[in-house]
Amino acid sequence: MFGLHYRLERKAIGLVLAIVGVASIGGIVEIAPLFTIHQTVEDAPDMRVYTPLELAGRNIYIREGCYACHSQMIRTLRDEVERYGPYSLAVESKYDHPMLWGSKRTGPDLARIGGKYSDEWQVAHLHNPREVVPESVMPAYGWLLRTTLRTSDLGANLEAMRAVGVPYTDEMIANAAADADGQAAPDTPAAAGVAERYGAATTIRIFDGNARELTEMDALVAYLQILGRLTDAAHKPVALGE
C-alpha cells in the first residue's frame, strides 16, 4: 500500500484524479438517493405554493439574515414537539428554494409561528422587540415599516421559482404584482383574485395596519403568518410508507 503511494505521489495528475475520486463517493451515496427514493418527501396533496406577497416576505427574511438566529425545523424530540408543535416534515419545505431549516436558536424556532400571534403583535415586535418582550436581544427592524415593497419584479421571481420546479401557473406569474397588492387589501377585486388563485384559505389582511401603502412589513408578516400552514400534513397521523 505504501509502495503504491510512493509511486502515486510522483504523479501530479494521478494525485488529482485520486483526490477527486475519493472525495466524490460520500456525496454521491448520500445525496443522489434523496432525489430518487420516493419516501424521502411525504405526499401532501393540499400543499400550496407561496403567494407573491409571502414570497416577497420570505426574501426579506433571507435578506435580513433571520435564519442565523431562528431555525425552521422542529426535531422529533418530545420537548421540541411540546414547545413548538408537531415535528417538521420534509414536504413542508419542498417549495423552499433554498430551505431555511437553520442551525442555531438564538431565538425560538419559527416553523409553526404562523397564526400563533396577531399581526399587531408581529408588527410591534419587529418594529422594536423590546416593546413586547423586554428581555429580547433581537434587532429592531424599524425600516420595514418605512420601506415600500417593490412588486414590479415579483412576476420574474415567480418565473425563476417555476424554473427550479415550483408549480406556479402562467396566470399566477402574470398577476404576481397585483396579487401582492390584493393580499393586503381585503374586499377589493384584487383580493378576490388572490383567493381564486391560491385558495380560499389564503390570509387576506392589512398586515401592517396601514391600508394606504404596501410595505416590506406587510410582506414579512404575511410570510411569518403562513409558516407551518402551507399544508396540514404534520397535524395528521403519520402515514407509514408501504
Binding site: V20, A68, E82, P98, K104, V133, W143, D153
Partner: protein, 550 residues
C-alpha cells in the same frame, strides 16, 4: 509590484482589467435602482484601481532575466498583508455582533448594521478573507520551495490573489446591502460565485503548472493538502451554488434544490468547507511550517498518508450530522454519524504526527512563541476534532444542536486551530519573505500569543457553559410533566456568558492588531544583505525536459 511583470503580462493585465471594468459598467447600468447596480460599482472601482496601478507602472523597466533564479514571492507578501487586514476587519465585526447579543441597541437604525447582515460579514471576513488569503499566500510559498521551482509567470498568481479578494469584497459589501443566498458559508449570490469559479480554476492551473515543473520527484505532503483544498472546494462550491437567477440584471437567484435535498447539499458543503477549507489547507500549512520552524523532520511519513486519505474520504460523508432528528431520512443521519466518529482516527493521527514532530524540539516551543502558536494549534486541532466527533453522536447532538455549544466548538477550531496555525506560519514566513533576521519584536509575538490563547479559552469556556445550560433548560420538565422554562428564561440565563464571550473575542482582536504592528515594523527595518543560498529554485535545466515520473 508592476515592475515584476513582463511587458506582455502588463498588456494582458490591461486587457483583463478593461474587460472587468466593462462587466462592472454593464452591471451598474443593468442594476440601476437595485443593490446589484452598487455591486457593479464595486467591480468597476476595483477594475479602475487596478488599471491605474498597471498604467502607472507600464513604462517601468522589464524585470531582469535573473529573476528566474529566485522564487516569486510578491503574491505571498501581498497575500499575508491582506490576510492581516481581513483578520482585523473580520474579528472586529465578529466582536461587534457579539456585543449586539449583550445589548441589541449598540447599533444604528439601518439595515446594513443589523445583526443578521453583519454576522455573515464576520464569517466571510474571517474564513474567506483572513483564512483564504493566508492559504493562497502560504500555498504559493510552500509550493515553490517544496517543488524547487518558480511560479510560472507573474500574472497568473496575481490574478488569483486579487481576483479572490474582489470576490470577498463583493460578498461582504453585498451582505450589508441585503444580498445573500442565505446558504450558510455560501452566502454570495450567483455573479460572485461565477467569478470565484474563474479565479479558482486559474489557481488550480497555476498549481498544476508548478507541480509539472518541479525538480523534486516526490510531491511533498503539504501540497497534497493544498491540492485537496483547491479541488474539493471547487466541487463543493459549484454543486452547492447551482441556482437560477431571477434576471441577468439582478442579484437575486433561487437555489436549484429545495427542502430536504437542499439541506443535505448545504451541509455536505458546509461541513466540508470546514474540512477542506479550514482543515486540509491549514494542515498543508502545518506540514511545512511546523517542521521547518522546529528544525525536525515530520515524525511519520506513513501516518501522514493514512491521515490524508482518511480525511479526504471520510469527511465527505459527515455533513448529515448537522441534520440529526430532522426531516432528513434516518439512514443518511446514521451514515453521517458513523463516519464522523471514524474521522477521529485520521484527525488525531494528524494532530499526533504534528506533536510528535516536536520531540527533541520542546525547548524551542518553550522559548519561541511562533513555534508555540503552531504547537497550541495542533493541540486545539486534536481537541476540536474530538469534540466534533462527540457532538456528531445523535444523542449528544440532541442536546448540543441549535445551542451555543456549536458556536463554541466552531471557535475552538477557528480561533484555536485555524488562526493559531496561521499566525504561527505568518510569523515564520514574514522574516523569510522580506529577508529579515527575525520579527521586529519577539516580545510582541509573545504578547500576541497570550492574548490569543486567553481570548480563545474565555470564548470557548463561555460558549460551552451557555450551550449546555441552554440545551438542558430547553428539555427540563417540572414535576407536573410540563416544560420548566420558557424560551426567554433560557435567553436571560445566557447574558453573563455573552458578556464573557465578547470580552474573549476582544482579546483575540487586540492580539491581531498587535500582530499587524509587529509585521509592519519588521518590514520597515533594513533587509539582510544576502539571500540564503538554500532559498532559491533549482537552476533551470539546459533543455525543458520533464522529470521522470511525470
Amino acid at each position: 509590484m508592476i515592475g515584476q511583470l513582463t511587458k506582455t503580462e502588463r498588456h494582458l493585465a490591461l486587457i483583463i482589467l478593461s474587460a472587468l471594468a466593462l462587466v462592472g459598467l454593464t452591471m451598474t447600468a443593468a442594476g440601476r435602482g437595485d443593490p446589484f447596480g452598487m455591486q457593479g460599482a464595486v467591480v468597476l472601482l476595483a477594475a479602475i484601481a487596478g488599471l491605474f496601478c498597471v498604467i502607472s507602472g507600464l513604462s517601468d523597466p522589464e524585470p531582469a532575466e535573473d529573476r528566474l533564479e529566485r522564487y516569486y514571492d510578491d503574491p505571498s507578501k501581498i497575500g499575508i498583508l491582506l490576510a492581516m487586514v481581513w483578520a482585523v476587519f473580520g474579528l472586529f465585526v465578529g466582536d461587534w455582533v457579539a456585543w449586539l447579543l449583550v445589548d441589541p441597541d449598540l447599533t444604528f437604525d439601518a439595515g446594513w448594521s443589523s445583526f443578521g447582515r453583519l454576522r455573515p460579514v464576520h464569517t466571510t471576513g474571517v474564513i474567506f478573507g483572513f483564512g483564504g488569503n493566508a492559504l493562497i499566500a502560504t500555498s504559493f510559498y510552500v509550493l515553490q520551495r517544496t517543488s524547487r521551482a518558480r511560479l510560472p509567470g507573474q500574472l497568473g498568481p496575481m490574478f488569483v490573489l486579487f481576483g479572490y479578494n474582489l470576490f470577498c469584497l463583493l460578498a461582504v459589501s453585498g451582505y450589508m446591502m441585503g444580498i445573500t443566498q442565505s446558504k450558510e458559508y455560501a452566502e454570495p449570490e450567483w455573479y460572485a460565485d461565477v467569478w470565484l469559479v474563474i479565479v479558482w480554476v486559474t489557481y488550480f492551473i497555476v498549481y498544476l503548472r508548478v507541480l509539472a515543473r518541479r525538480k523534486e520527484p516526490h510531491i511533498y505532503v503539504a501540497n497534497w493538502y493544498y491540492m485537496a483544498f483547491i479541488l474539493v472546494v471547487a466541487m463543493l462550491h459549484i454543486v452547492n451554488n447551482l441556482a437560477v437567477p431571477v434576471s441577468i440584471g439582478g442579484a437575486k437567484s433561487y437555489s436549484l434544490f429545495a427542502g430536504v435535498q437542499d439541506a443535505m447539499t448545504e451541509w455536505w458543503y458546509g461541513h466540508n468547507a470546514v474540512a477542506f477549507f479550514l482543515t486540509a489547507g491549514f494542515l498543508g500549512m502545518m506540514y511545512y511550517y511546523l517542521p521547518k520552524r522546529a528544525g525536525r523532520p515530520i515524525f511519520s511519513y506513513r501516518v501522514s498518508i493514512i491521515s490524508f486519505w482518511g480525511i479526504t474520504f471520510m469527511y465527505m460523508w459527515a455533513g448529515s450530522h448537522h441534520l440529526h432528528y430532522t426531516a432528513l431520512p434516518q439512514w443518511v443521519q446514521t451514515l453521517g454519524m458513523t463516519f464522523s466518529v471514524m474521522l477521529l482516527v485520521p484527525s488525531w493521527a494528524s494532530a499526533g504526527n504534528a506533536l510528535l514532530t516536536l520531540n527533541g524540539a520542546w525547548h524551542k516551543v518553550r522559548d519561541d512563541a511562533t513555534l508555540r502558536f503552531m504547537m497550541v494549534a495542533a493541540v486545539f486541532y486534536g481537541l476540536s476534532t474530538f469534540e466534533g466527533s462527540f457532538m456528531a453522536i445523535r444523542a449528544v447532538n440532541s442536546l448540543s444542536h441549535y445551542t451555543d455549544w456549536t458556536v463554541g466548538h466552531v471557535h475552538a477550531g477557528a480561533l484555536g486551530w485555524v488562526a493559531m496555525i496561521t499566525f504561527g506560519s505568518i510569523y515564520a514566513s514574514v522574516p523569510w519573505l522580506w529577508k529579515r533576521e527575525a520579527m521586529y519584536s519577539a516580545r510582541l509575538v509573545e504578547v500576541h500569543f497570550w492574548l490569543a490563547l486567553a481570548g480563545t479559552l474565555i470564548y470557548v469556556f463561555a460558549m460551552w457553559n451557555s450551550g449546555i445550560i441552554q440545551g438542558l433548560m430547553w428539555r427540563t420538565y417540572n414535576d407536573s410533566g410540563t416544560l420548566a422554562y420558557s424560551f426567554v428564561d433560557s435567553l436571560v440565563a445566557m447574558h453573563p456568558y455573552y458578556v464573557a464571550r465578547a470580552i474573549g473575542g476582544l482579546l483575540f482582536l487586540i492580539g491581531a492588531v498587535v500582530g499587524c504592528y509587529n509585521i509592519w515594523m519588521t518590514i520597515r527595518v533594513a533587509p539582510q544583505e544576502r539571500v540564503p543560498a538554500a532559498d532559491q529554485p533549482e537552476p533551470a535545466p539546459a533543455r525543458a525536459a520533464l522529470q521522470p515520473g511525470e
